[in-house]
């Protein structure tokens, strides 16, 4: 009754083509942004920010990246973890070579390095699809991970063999390093994620998004519309890797505060992001957030939330329960609802539109 288009006549195509044509959706977005930028920093404690919100945002960005490639363009990849690594190491090199430049600029710029590497590993996609492309991206995963560990120049010859995130200030406030507060890091991250989500939404709703989906749905017909397959696929690899790269840089600089590739950018990470995209919904930006929220928050919720309700479960049980639940859900979504949580969200909205009348 209260959520619907009724009375909101779209008098121009411009308003009908807006990403959120319904007023209530726009209000909803404004409320979410207000909660994100004001409510959570004020009310959420450091623990909440560090273990829930920051991981959620980092994974959302990576999931958007993979969704552009897999959900929108139909190209499967198991290399997202490695492309995140490219971003993290690029950012580390950039900020140690040019410490004077604002770290936020380097975090975003590191995405371009990931994009370039992504294009190189995307080249086989013209000839191979499906299973064989997965194998090619898997090769990228192992090769890059190997490079991160074996090329000491990448981690500045640190004895630890890991990235050690230096302190970087902005207007006197530490943004990275041990002295950066979770609130600062969270706000910087939220700013980056909001901006890049807006950009991604512009891309997928326009000509380029349509050409990606055309390639995904029927490549011969896409070619007949004048879409050249290789450039379209490589652009998807570039944009996707850009998002993963920025996510990797954010992970190191705004979340972990340091670490090495074998922990942070391994094949498990690639799988985690793929699961987020599957559970959240292939070909949906909202789905990327839902999937990231679900998978990144689930372990924390089981570990801390369930005991908080007064039900005692040991840590190991919580961990195993996480895996069992995830496995079951992935199978469920693959079989029953390939469009993931995003579709359930849409169905929910549809119901809300009808409410309180069942038809």
């Amino acid at each position: 009754m209260f959520y619907r288009e009724a009375g909101q006549f779209k008098t121009t195509y411009a308003s009908d083509m807006a990403v959120l044509p319904i007023l209530q959706d726009r209000i909803g977005l404004a409320v979410i942004l207000l909660i994100g930028f004001v409510g959570i920093p004020l009310l959420g404690g450091n623990f909440f920010l560090q273990t829930v919100m920051i991981p959620f945002l980092v994974f959302s960005l990576a999931a958007i990246g993979l969704n552009i490639l897999t959900g929108y363009t139909g190209l499967l990849s198991l290399g997202s973890g490695a492309f995140m690594g490219v971003g993290a190491y690029a950012c580390y090199k950039l900020t140690t070579i040019y410490p004077g430049v604002n770290i936020v600029i380097w975090i975003v710029a590191s995405g371009f390095f990931a994009a370039a590497i992504g294009v190189v590993f995307g080249l086989p996609s013209l000839r191979i699809k499906g299973f064989y492309l997965i194998v090619a991206t898997l090769a990228a995963q192992f090769f890059l991970q190997w490079s991160f560990v074996r090329i000491p120049w990448l981690y500045n010859y640190n004895a630890s063999g890991a990235i050690e995130v230096p302190q970087r200030l902005f207007a006197g406030i530490p943004l990275t390093g041990a002295n950066a507060t979770p609130v600062t890091r969270y706000l910087v991250l939220l700013g980056i994620v909001t901006f890049l989500t807006w950009i991604a939404s512009n891309l997928v709703h326009g000509r380029i998004g349509r050409s990606w989906m055309a390639v995904r749905d029927m490549d011969i017909a896409a070619e007949l519309m004048g879409i050249r397959l290789l450039p379209a696929k490589l652009l998807a690899f570039a944009v996707s890797s850009f998002y993963c790269g920025v996510a990797g840089a954010c992970m190191m600089f705004l979340w972990y505060g340091g670490g090495e590739a074998n922990d942070a950018f391994n094949i498990n990470q690639s799988f985690t992001i793929l699961f987020m995209v599957i559970i959240g919904g292939l070909g949906s930006l909202i789905g990327s957030f839902l999937g990231a929220a679900f998978i990144s928050i689930l372990p924390t919720a089981l570990k801390f939330g369930v005991p908080a309700l007064g039900i005692a479960i040991p840590g190991t049980v919580a961990e195993h329960a996480t895996y069992i639940l995830l496995g079951a859900l992935i199978i469920f979504f693959l079989i029953v609802e390939p469009h993931g949580l995003a579709r359930l969200w849409q169905i929910g909205k549809q119901k809300l539109r009808m409410w309180p009348f069942p038809y």
Partner: protein, 271 residues
Amino acid sequence: MSALAEMLQGEVARAAAETLLTVENVSLTFGGVRALSDISFDIRKGEIRAIIGPNGAGKTSMLNCINGFYHPRSGRITFKGKTRQRMRPYEAASQGIARTFQNVALFKGMTTLDNILTGRTLKMNRNFFWQLLRHGPAMREEIEHRIYCEDIIDFLEIEHIRKTPVGKLPYGLQKRVELGRALAMQPDLLLLDEPMAGMNLEEKEDMCRFILDVNRHFRTTIALIEHDMGVVMDISDRVVVLEYGHKIADGTPDEVKADQRVIDAYLGVSH
């Protein structure tokens, strides 16, 4: 004065270049199978040209050669005065050739509107950086093309399914959306591969009307493969008949109907 001269010149040029597409001695083989043997015919500007023949005669293969999916083993294809060697389908698209497929080849996960808008891809020039912003010129371009596509949607009477993912539509409507997507390309030559296959009588009549309207109002040249002989004889200007990869007749519907080889090969057999 010069404008008039230009117009006259254009008129003269048009009369001379009446032929839009020429196919000369085209042969195509798959392994040992000769799908097309030494086929020659032409398509004139503004006409509806039918290609008929029994199943497996090579009709679809012929269209695939014209728009670059297949590369003939020998022979030449000349479109708008330009003879080409090997050409990719996207090049055919940019030269003004659009087509629909025998088994609908829509973008199933996209809405009707997005499918038709995808047909405008080549007409959209705003670069990647404008696309990132989706404001200003990029948005103006989107709107301009949206308006164009809305006209097609009106014309094909598919307003009600504008926002429906095409995978959910019944077959007849899918064929109509596919025609819309091809029309959105504003082609000089429109290739239709069995646009009425699997349709009921009413849907067929609608489709016939659309094809004739496209031809008359937009002056689009059409090459049409169709099994329904009644339809072919009604709407086409000239007919090519293929059998086992050979051309066995070529002419007006009346000439073709009277041809003994055609009667033996095709018309005699009830379909």
